[in-house]
Assembly symmetry: D2
């Protein structure tokens, strides 16, 4: 059985990674690929690595026959995404990789995105697409709002611990590191090779838009509002993301208890792996794959622990998780199309 | 139908890339993985990106039951390979990624490798595994001697042109560039991150062992002995290989004629692609895939042209081509297990 | 006036960077360069970038005339350093870039280095060479124990704040990131280009030997024992180090107060720069130079702040600071030989 | 003695590297820094690594008092350079790092740059600034047209050999490799980190504007028109350039003769070094410095040789050579301000 899909935002990195994976997915038929600036061009002009696929032409969003699609993946920038998604036929399932339907509270949306939400009525049809934690709610949803890349890694590491009351939700520090694709393909000076290479820097300190998304989900698990420290850094690599979470243990919990809690939560999960004691997560270990690797370490500071998670920001952090949600939505094996092993080196 | 395979040299990069691809190949069952230094360790200790596969333990070559295998892939260093391959049961097909059975002339072998060949009697059972040019001879062979990475790129670009007498086989210059995985995983100072990064240098100038291999095949196509210039360079990237071939046109041939000759030769090939005029081959375009991209350019120097080919050195240049040969050997669709698209970025 | 120097450990990266800077220092005459494994080789064989200096031959430590030197820089690994330093003539000033004379407490040394200190009697002649904080004690010392690279960045950022009681010394988390030269030039698999490139990972979690050094100095400023969280990460770049310090404010202190405290402490310092509000420290900004850049940021979590410092691990984190201490020791302008601007890009 | 300089194009990489070097040059006083788009900003906003210099503000070219300068360095793009240079007071020496005054033949200029030259009358006042070959003509010139980065490396390697009739000027192939700074700081998709990283590609095949410049100088040495093959490649590193020149020997010349010819030509030169037999030039060896390293290798193809030169494209290939010419122009030691050793690693 084939599901016909379309893509909004086919000329960005997340759109491209979705196409890369979807093109060899056993249950996907690729339909319209929309990308307004590049509309009219062949996909392989915009992304030469698609030269080995059958030729496909990019179209304008308004020229595509979305009603012929069963599902549409959206890789547009926030803001633009909601404007186009609200125009899609109601029959079409939407798997949104943008930030537009992640925040449940439109007030928080305004505060962080500086504009009113254009389609608040759709929020009730949306589910937060952190597959491992929302698997049951996804099949009935119209829109799956896939988490941001940082929230994916941070929440997979922290949610079970907060829910189990093993860590103090009021004292969470997330030092995050991302490869440069996280900044997208839009031309900006700081992501030029000669600027981003051979060096690293923090960015978005105390102001990155993934913070409220992380807080929304941790608060839900904690049953109380939370504020987390979230500090991202730009690392000279293309793909990969690692979060180093500094947490305070509750009660008599020890690092080993955190590890056991995570291991139990994710036992049987195809894509989330809790490393044995002493194994260091690394982005190299997950590159190009939908896997997430989590490690737990005792801190020398009494009462504290360190929880580290690594993902590929474009796969588990975006297009791969989107396809995982697609599989859940349409009743396929969750691993379909996602069984490629990490590309190392 | 599943074919049981074993691997000799599972702890090197080519062995690992073979396992990466074989693990998701629809017709492969992975059997013994031999790696003498690391024997006894779990595969995932040696290569953490295999943590997401079922656990497999590395064994000593002498402890493996090779007779239970239908095929054995060999990713050992030259020299060691022939010593172990000659001990394998005659029932086992051998797909050798080492250099040991590539040179037909044992005299040339001695000259370049500094030792007598230990299994000359097996050479008659071996075929040179440049799939697109030896496809018909592979099914009957006992040993498939997969080409070196540089010869793969250079020969795919040049063989049809030499065979068609479109270029002068006596005036071929191959300026080659490779990522650092080409040097293997053995500890050497020049491949440390801080030595190889942020810089480039030539190496093996007029002395690289891929030269006689290239010459053997070009001479065969030319019907006369040839000496080529082959100058490799180490590039600060992990994967990827690009050869820039400077050639002299014969008769009235033009660059466009070369392109047409290549396009005709490779029409219908799943993995070799002749780019349209003006499209620049790049290693980014083929990374992680079994594809080879070839471009032809007119030179400003009258009577000359430039032929450029890009591959992933570990895939089409080694493990991918090995699996492609496996598919041919066992009658599978040549693309089986090799349809992953390039990983870009 | 020229001071004759020698170098112990001239074949490592810190030794080499010391030579790079010393060779153009106006008051330095380079004497014996010792490097046991490579003894007998020319310096330019071991480090090709010294091909443009007058030829110098590496010698064995026991063959050098150390008594003819005024000062000896030591870039040896810990353990080896103390064994050789104790054999040097008492007339020679020692500027030690190893870890051997940094810890005042030999018990702590044993605990972290797993061996008894071989020259405890010399500890009383040693001063901790964090120039900006020990400037007055350096001229009278026989041995200047230059801080580790991480301690240099972390202590420059934190010491004034702890001393001013502006932050809680019991709640300090230091997430540290270093380029690969930090791991030295010794052959190890994890620092091969293909292993360390295009990815990042933590290492030495809760076990890195720079932790007790940081704690020693913070405890001294705090007047009480402290345990800090110190978690280093290996970043795919050659040079550069950045520490992101998560701190809890004391009393009514605000981020701006921390910035003011640091700015006042380092006013007039030639090499430590407190960035204006909003300026993000980056290792690119200091590469190849002796500068340290510090930024302070308010956290969204009430009562917390983020202090970030960037240095070049081989310069301010090692050889540059060593030369700065040399300048102090011999009464030269502290900037002598260190005025090269950062190499960007 | 201090010479007051100004800079046109202070916000590009060549302008910045000129400032980096000039700021510590013993005979330079930095005057107006012009950069139209960024005029009004502080230099350190545009290039954070200048935060450690005294604050300087960028100005519009028309607002600067050029008459107060003794010399003006120009790092503007071609076309713009000539328009502004012709407006400078006649009293000012111009050291131009752009392409505008390199080609002696305005017809060739039109052909390659697609516009008529706007200041042909100034060409007679200009000398080609390849210091080692035009040293005597520089002091009397008004304008020093510094060579392009690729021509610098290629001509240093080839000019003496052509002049000595040791190689055939009609059969020269230059395979060139450059770091990404060679493409400038202007925003272009192909130089984003995620596009240029972990891969390489040729560009400007048979159409790069450095070809006519190389040909102009080789023709002059050969005494006859020449066409060379010049094929550049973009390498994933920020700085560095290496040319691999494939040449045909004339008469009975051998590789060793070429080496001897080059060694004799450059004996005593402070910045051009002919490597001993077997030493491989590498860009790492010259990074950040004004040095050029040249190696000569026998080819296995009879009658051919390989000549390889490495430089830092922003230093010897641009700003460093410009300062070297400044030193010649004003009678300083040619090494003044250029004695920093290469930054390795």
């Amino acid at each position: 059985m084939k599901i016909k899909i379309g893509v909004l935002g086919a000329s960005g990195y997340t759109g491209a990674d979705l196409i890369r994976l979807a093109a060899v997915h056993p249950h996907v038929e690729i339909g319209p690929l929309a990308a307004n600036t590049h509309a009219g061009k062949m996909l392989a002009e915009v992304f030469p690595h698609f030269a080995f696929l059958a030729p496909m032409r990019l179209v304008k969003a308004e020229d595509a026959d979305w009603a012929a699609c069963d599902a549409v993946f959206c890789g547009l920038p926030h803001g633009t995404a909601q404007d186009l998604i609200k125009e899609l036929p109601a029959s079409v399932k939407v798997i949104d990789m943008s930030a537009d339907f992640r925040l449940r509270d439109t007030g928080v949306y305004v505060q962080w995105y500086g504009r009113a939400h254009a389609a608040p009525e759709l929020l009730s049809e949306a589910v937060y697409g952190l597959t491992e934690h929302y698997r049951k709610e996804i099949p009935g949803a119209r829109i799956v709002a896939c988490p941001g890349c940082y929230p994916t890694a941070a929440l997979l590491a922290l949610l079970p611990l907060v829910a189990a009351r093993a860590i103090d939700s009021a004292d969470i520090i997330i030092d995050a590191k991302s490869g440069v694709t996280g900044a997208g393909r839009t031309l900006k000076q700081n992501i030029l090779f000669s600027e981003a290479g051979e060096g690293l820097s923090p960015y978005g300190v105390a102001s990155h838009r993934h913070a409220p998304e992380i807080e929304q989900e941790i608060a839900k698990a904690a049953g109380a509002p939370v504020t987390v420290n979230f500090t991202p850094h730009l690392i000279p690599m293309s793909r990969g993301e690692l979060v180093t979470c500094y947490v305070r243990l509750k009660g008599s919990a020890m690092a080993a208890d955190l590890r056991a809690c995570l291991a139990e939560t994710y036992a049987g999960e195809p894509f989330v792996h809790v490393a044995e004691e002493g194994v260091l997560p690394a982005t190299q270990t997950v590159r190009g794959s939908n896997h997430c690797q989590i490690g737990v370490f005792a801190d020398r500071v009494p009462g504290r622990a360190i929880v580290i998670a690594a993902i590929d920001n474009l796969v588990k952090g975006s297009a791969g998780q989107a396809l995982q949600n697609f599989n859940v939505l349409f009743g396929f094996d969750e691993r379909a199309g996602l069984q490629q092993l990490p590309l190392f080196p």
